[in-house]
Amino acid sequence: MIDWAKVLGDAVKAAETIIGARWPSVAKTATTQITALVENAKFIEANRASMTDMEYKATKINQQRALEGVLKGFAAISIVVAEQVAASVWGVVEAALKTLPELAPFI
């Protein structure tokens, strides 16, 4: 029997590994999508008998594709968040420069 709680835990750990240090910024929303896909994996196994062999094999492969696409999608989101943090750093630097008139000859 499949231990679905372990499957979910392993999937979330895999996501943390892929996304790395930026994981906390997307953890909650990414976990929601990963949980939905693990629930779907349960659905596929529970309804295997009502699918043709071709449908069962196809949807199992597609489940993996969806998980990979979701993980990489959240990696993309975490990069955007990092870039936006960089954008706000730029704003802080710009504001600081304006308060240092002695640096005017150099910028």
Binding site: I44, A66, G73, A76, Q84, V93, I107
Partner: protein, 185 residues
């Protein structure tokens, strides 16, 4: 005179280095594109509505399967036609074209997140419309539909969940760019 200005010069160079680094990172940040946001939402609606409609047809076919009346047989013929691959080819063509269009719009912002966002689009193409490689079994919804001419409810429900998690991820990507801040928690 130069000696007097050396500390300022060093501070200036340091700050300019920080500026250059910040500008480099900021220039990578993608800008929000309203059109790609709409294209992704419209495509999600198109795909979801079609899958829901095919599920409803299959449920109805299942429920009238055991009925022997002429009316039931006539309805079954009509429903089988509605569920057939030939009746839905236009849908797959639209999905293929719209996915490519939305992906191209997102790709037009050349930033570090592009290749990862591309993976979500590629997964959607593989699940929905990709043709099987030579000798390989069909796996996309279109390829399975073409091979079987009809799709069962369980396969459709599972496919709906798979594509909607991907669309939700792409929508979150767009929302993050639009918000200019961390994703909502």
């Amino acid at each position: 005179l130069l000696e007097d200005k050396t500390p300022y010069l060093n501070r200036g160079i340091s700050l300019l280095s920080v500026l250059a680094l910040s500008l480099g990172l900021v220039s990578c940040a993608p800008t929000f594109d309203d059109q790609s946001d709409k294209e992704i939402s419209n495509l999600q609606h198109l795909v979801d509505a079609k899958i829901v409609s095919l599920i409803a047809v299959d449920r109805r076919l299942t429920s009238i399967r055991s009925q022997a009346s002429q009316a039931a047989r006539t309805e079954a013929v009509k429903l089988k036609q509605e569920a057939s691959y030939s009746a839905n080819m236009g849908f797959y063509d639209d999905v293929d074209a719209d996915l490519t269009s939305a992906q191209m719009r997102v790709d037009s912002s050349s930033d570090a997140s592009k290749s990862n966002a591309d993976s979500s689009f590629e997964a959607l193409k593989e699940i929905l419309v990709s043709a099987p490689a030579a000798g390989a079994e069909p796996t996309s919804m279109q390829a399975v539909h073409e091979a079987q001419d009809r799709l069962g409810q369980a396969f459709l429900i599972s496919t709906r969940r798979e594509v909607n998690t991907l669309f939700a991820t792409l929508m979150r990507y767009e929302m993050t760019i639009r918000a200019g801040q961390s994703p909502a928690k």
